[in-house]
Structure formats: structure tokens, C-alpha cells
């Protein structure tokens, strides 16, 4: 369709030129030029196939240019010959309005060849432009997919340490976003990669400042926020004194996972997961709290997460650390107490 419109424009140009340069009357010029130009449209399709066969790169530029020029000239010459016959034909119809002028106007051939060749070359150029655009879009999609594949591979190695469902859900979300919001998908990919890389690195370190631990847990929650949208709100308040306490890395991870899975996920309107830490004498008190649905059914936790946290506390601090759960129908709080540690 675009093609035909473009060539109709060329037709108008030929008509105008025929009138101006060759003295043909307007009506006759239009009757001459338009059908002739529409015939050129399929003829220039050869340019389309050429552009497919000859990719345009800096190296091939000269060759492509040469080929295009010769193809243009040849096609234009044939077209000019057709034009000549058509000119004669119109003259011979005997209808006065269609009489174009002299039998063999000298300027007709150059006119048609020039316009035809230019039209051909322009049409080829447009094909190249369209192809480049298509290729750029396809490249972007391909880059995104390979990024996802790379992350997937990285993640497979980490499976033992992080809840597999979290990975699975995150990948699903990314997969869902790829077609709809590629920028969002890429951003989520990066955040997921960062979180997993950080937890992998920090997991090997031993102990980290509580402030770093809370930052890590917030990274996790930010990723979950893509799935839950405004249903998952996050609040944290860690005092400077509390933030300096040294804790095992990923200590709070299971608590936060539970808060999302058993708390927020069961609420229609969602809610806020809050993490607070305050210094209290020689200890630091950490509270992870979330709302929950009083009538929540199914998928009750196994208590495994809490168990893991308890064991890690014991291994790291012996009797100097403790954990308790304060829960009612509407909310769930886990209170963890750890030693504040020596002043640095």
C-alpha cells in the first residue's frame, strides 16, 4: 500500500514534468503519467529483493551502490521504453483531450529514465531503512533473552541456598514482563542478579553488620514487590547503634520469606512487612512483623524457617541470643535478640 502511494506521487511528478517540459496538456499528462507510474511499483519490487540479498555494511557500500545504480538504470530504461509506447498509444487514440504532443519528444526518454532511476534508488534505500529498524528491535529482544538465560544459569547454582519458589516466581514475573515491559524485565533481571550475587558473596563471609543484613533483605523484598505490586509494602527502621551489631548473613531471610508467603500473600489488600531494630543495653532487638488473614487456610508453614533461624542463632551466639514468636489472629511478630557486640 505504501508502495503504491509512493509511486502515485512519482506519477504526479512525471505528469507535472510532462506538462512543464514537454508541453503536454494537463489531462493528457495525468492520464499518461499515473498508470505508467503504478506499473513501476511492481517493477521496483526487484529492488526489494536486491536489498534483502545485499546487506549494507561499510565494506559493501560501494558494491551495493554500484549494483543499485545499475539495477535502477536498467529498470528505468525498460520503464522509459514502456512509457514511450504508452505515449505513442495515447497520441494514436484519436481522442483530442488525450493528445500529448510531438510523436517522439526528445526529452521524454531522459525524463522517464531519471525519474524512474531515482524512484528505484529511493525505494531501495527505504527497504534498507526498514530492515535496519526491524533488526534493531530483534536484537534488543535477543539480548534480553540471553540475559535471562545467563541469570538462569547463575541461579541454578544458588538453588540450595535460597527458596527455589522465590527463584521460580521471579523468573516467571520476568518472563511475563519481557513482551510487555522490556525495561522492567531488564531491571528485574539486574536486581535479581544483584541480590543473588550479594547473598552468595555474603553467605561465605560469616558475619555482617545488621544494617547490611537489613539492606539485603530489602533487596529481596523489592524483587517480590514486582509480583505483588502495591499489595506488598516494606518498612524498616534500624537505629545506628543497632545497625553496627554483627549477625550471620541471611539470618533474617527465612523470616521475611515467611512474612510474604504466609502473611501478605493471603491478604486481598496485602500489607506491610516491617523490620525494626533497636539497641537495648548489651543487646540488639530485631522485630520482623507482618499482618495476616485470620481465616488463612491451607499452606500452613512447616516451621522450618523458624527452626533454621533458631539454629543459626544458637550456633553463632550460644545462649546470648534468643528468638520468640508473638502472634495473634491478625498479625505475626518474630522478635530476635542478639548481642550488640564489642564496640569497634
Amino acid at each position: 500500500m505504501v508502495h503504491l502511494t509512493a509511486w502515485s506521487v512519482v506519477g504526479a511528478i512525471v505528469a507535472a514534468l510532462s506538462h512543464a517540459l514537454l508541453g503536454a496538456p494537463w489531462l493528457a499528462a495525468v492520464v499518461f503519467a499515473l498508470p505508467l507510474s503504478l506499473v513501476a511499483a511492481p517493477a521496483s519490487m526487484s529492488g526489494f529483493y536486491l536489498s534483502r540479498a545485499l546487506p549494507l555494511t561499510p565494506q559493501t557500500a560501494v558494491r551495493v551502490g554500484g549494483t543499485a545504480a545499475s539495477a535502477a538504470l536498467v529498470t528505468a530504461a525498460v520503464w522509459a521504453a514502456l512509457g514511450h509506447l504508452w505515449w505513442l498509444g495515447l497520441n494514436r487514440t484519436g481522442v483530442p483531450e488525450l493528445y500529448l504532443g510531438a510523436e517522439q519528444p526528445a526529452a521524454l526518454a531522459p525524463l522517464l529514465v531519471t525519474v524512474g532511476a531515482m524512484g528505484y534508488v529511493v525505494s531501495m534505500a527505504m527497504h534498507y531503512v526498514f530492515r535496519a529498524y526491524e533488526r534493531a528491535a530483534a536484537d534488543e529482544r535477543r539480548a534480553l533473552r540471553s540475559e535471562i538465560a545467563a541469570r538462569e544459569a547463575e541461579l541454578r547454582a544458588l538453588r540450595a541456598q535460597i527458596d527455589p519458589h522465590f527463584l521460580f516466581n521471579s523468573l516467571n514475573s520476568i518472563s511475563g514482563l519481557v513482551g510487555v515491559d522490556p525495561a522492567g524485565a531488564r531491571s528485574m533481571c539486574q536486581r535479581l542478579g544483584d541480590f543473588l550475587r550479594d547473598s552468595l558473596t555474603l553467605g561465605g563471609v560469616g558475619r555482617i553488620p545488621l544494617s547490611r543484613e537489613v539492606a539485603l533483605v530489602r533487596q529481596y523484598l523489592e524483587i517480590e514487590q514486582v509480583r505483588f505490586g502495591s499489595r506488598l509494602m516494606v518498612g524498616s527502621a534500624v537505629s545506628a547503634a543497632a545497625g553496627a551489631a554483627m549477625v550471620p548473613a541471611l539470618l533474617l531471610q527465612p523470616l521475611v520469606e515467611n512474612a510474604v508467603r504466609h502473611g501478605i500473600a493471603g491478604l486481598i489488600e496485602g500489607g506491610t512487612v516491617s523490620i525494626q531494630a533497636e539497641r537495648a543495653g548489651d543487646s540488639v532487638v530485631i522485630v520482623v512483623e507482618n499482618p495476616r488473614d485470620p481465616e488463612a487456610r491451607g499452606r500452613k508453614g512447616t516451621g522450618l524457617g523458624l527452626d533454621i533461624v533458631r539454629r543459626r542463632l544458637r550456633a553463632a551466639f550460644g545462649d546470648d541470643a534468643s528468638m520468640r514468636v508473638e502472634a495473634d489472629d491478625q498479625s505475626y511478630r518474630v522478635v530476635v535478640t542478639v548481642p550488640a557486640g564489642e564496640p569497634t
Binding site: F168, N169, L171, N172, S173, S175, G176, L177, G179, V180, D181, V226, R227, F228, G229, R231, A265, G266, L267, I268, D293, E295, R297, G298
Partner: protein
């Protein structure tokens, strides 16, 4: 196979998932998304308020899961489950779902599901009570009833049920001062409720034991149960035997 435009409702609590499905549907064509719902309550409302040809339904959702939704509206609308977990496939089969798609799925898979949905429209519907009966969870007695009231859904924990009265194909669930009509048979409910807490005291009545204040002899061989709030429920002979076994 017809080629009418399918009127589709997407139900999933996760927005990225809803967006992805909508995006795929737009690419496939031949469908109009008439509603996007983030939970089962919205889904019931949507189905009540307009003509819906197909439900694309997630399973894991807050408060009402996909099977609850199916129980409430499954006889009206064909359902395709869309979920990240494969463990529900067997149940989905039992409730005559049209299809079961595992997330993430390829567009072609969704397209195939849509074609199945179209083909299903040509066939007679499965018996509605069969659909509802098998939507029950396999494990354990019921802990709550979901009852549809036009566009609204009542979620009634079993502890709040006073008694249930049969009314032909329906039952009237008496709870917290009101009564709700549910399309189910008394026998069906009897099977699913905890027999230690709910007794079929009469051909037409199931009673929550906790509500029972005392039993009075009405006439020879005829007894009535007096509830704590003073209401009365008739007890048949067989019903009385069952009651005695329990108490």
C-alpha cells in the same frame, strides 16, 4: 468450531501475570478481555455482571483460591487454569476444567487452550453438581463454606454455622443471625463437614453441636433441639441416635 469473539476474564493476583496474558491474548486475537480481576471476589462479581465466555484462572490467590472460584461459578463459565504449580492438575481434571496451563507458557499453548474453549462451547455442559462436587479439596473436612449471593461472596468459617436446613436442591445455611442459600445438597455437605462437630439430626437438618443447649421431648418419639439462642431444630429418631453416639 465457531469464530465469534470470546469474552474473557483474567483472574490472577499478580499484575505482571495478568499483563502477560493480556498481551498474549491481544496478539492471538479473536478475544475481548472484559475484565481483569485480582481475586476471587472480583471474579464472581465480573461473571455476575456481564456475559463471560471463558475464565482464565490462577489457582493461588488470597482468601478464595481458583477452585473456590470454580465452585462458585464453574457451572456458568468454562475455566482454563493458569498456574505456576503442576500439583493441581488432577483436581482440575476432576472439575472439568477446559485446560491447565503451566506458567510460563508459550503463546501457542494459550492459543490451543482458546481453541479448546471454543470447541467446548459446542458441547453440552457437564452436570453442574458434578462440577461443584469434585471442586472440594481432597484433604480433611471443610473448614469454611463459600456461598455466592449474586455478585457477592460470603466466606463462612464452619465454626460460625449454627445449623443447615435443606430446601430441595439448595440448603439454607443459618449463621450469625442470617441465612444464606447455597446450591448444594444436604447429603453432600454432611459428607464434607467434620462429623465430630456437625450431626445430621433430621432428614432436613444438620446441627452444629456447639450450638446445642439441650434436647427436649416434643411428643412421643419426637424430639427437638434447643439452641443457645432459643431457636429450635427438629430431631428424628435416627438423628437422635447419631446425636447420642456423639455426646
Amino acid at each position: 468450531m465457531n469464530s465469534d469473539v470470546l469474552r474473557v476474564v483474567i483472574v490472577d493476583d499478580e499484575e505482571p501475570a495478568r499483563l502477560a496474558v493480556r498481551h498474549d491474548l491481544e496478539a492471538i486475537g479473536g478475544v475481548t478481555v472484559v475484565a481483569e480481576c485480582a481475586n476471587g471476589f472480583e471474579a464472581v462479581k465480573a461473571v455476575s455482571e456481564q456475559t463471560v465466555d471463558l475464565l482464565l484462572l490462577d489457582v493461588q490467590m488470597p482468601k478464595l483460591d481458583g477452585f473456590d472460584v470454580l465452585e462458585l461459578i464453574g457451572k456458568d463459565v468454562p475455566v482454563v487454569f493458569i498456574t505456576a504449580y503442576d500439583e493441581f492438575a488432577l483436581r482440575a481434571f476432576e472439575v472439568h476444567a477446559v485446560d491447565y496451563l503451566l506458567k510460563p507458557f508459550a503463546r501457542e499453548r494459550l492459543e490451543a487452550a482458546l481453541m479448546r474453549a471454543r470447541a467446548r462451547r459446542e458441547q453440552p455442559r457437564p452436570d453442574p453438581s458434578a462440577v461443584r462436587a469434585t471442586a472440594r479439596p481432597a484433604a480433611g473436612p471443610l473448614d469454611r463454606l463459600v456461598i455466592r449471593d449474586g455478585p457477592h461472596v460470603h466466606v463462612v468459617p464452619v465454626g460460625k454455622i449454627d445449623y443447615i436446613e435443606a430446601q430441595d436442591d439448595y440448603v439454607s445455611v443459618h449463621t450469625a443471625g442470617k441465612s444464606l442459600l447455597k446450591e448444594q445438597t444436604l447429603a453432600d455437605l454432611e459428607r464434607q463437614l467434620d462429623a465430630g462437630r456437625f450431626v445430621r439430626v433430621h432428614r432436613s437438618y444438620i446441627l452444629n453441636i456447639e450450638r446445642l443447649a439441650r434436647v427436649e421431648l416434643y411428643a412421643k418419639d419426637s424430639r427437638i433441639a434447643i439452641l443457645h439462642d432459643g431457636r429450635k431444630v427438629p430431631i428424628s429418631r435416627a438423628g437422635y441416635q447419631r446425636l447420642q453416639e456423639l455426646l
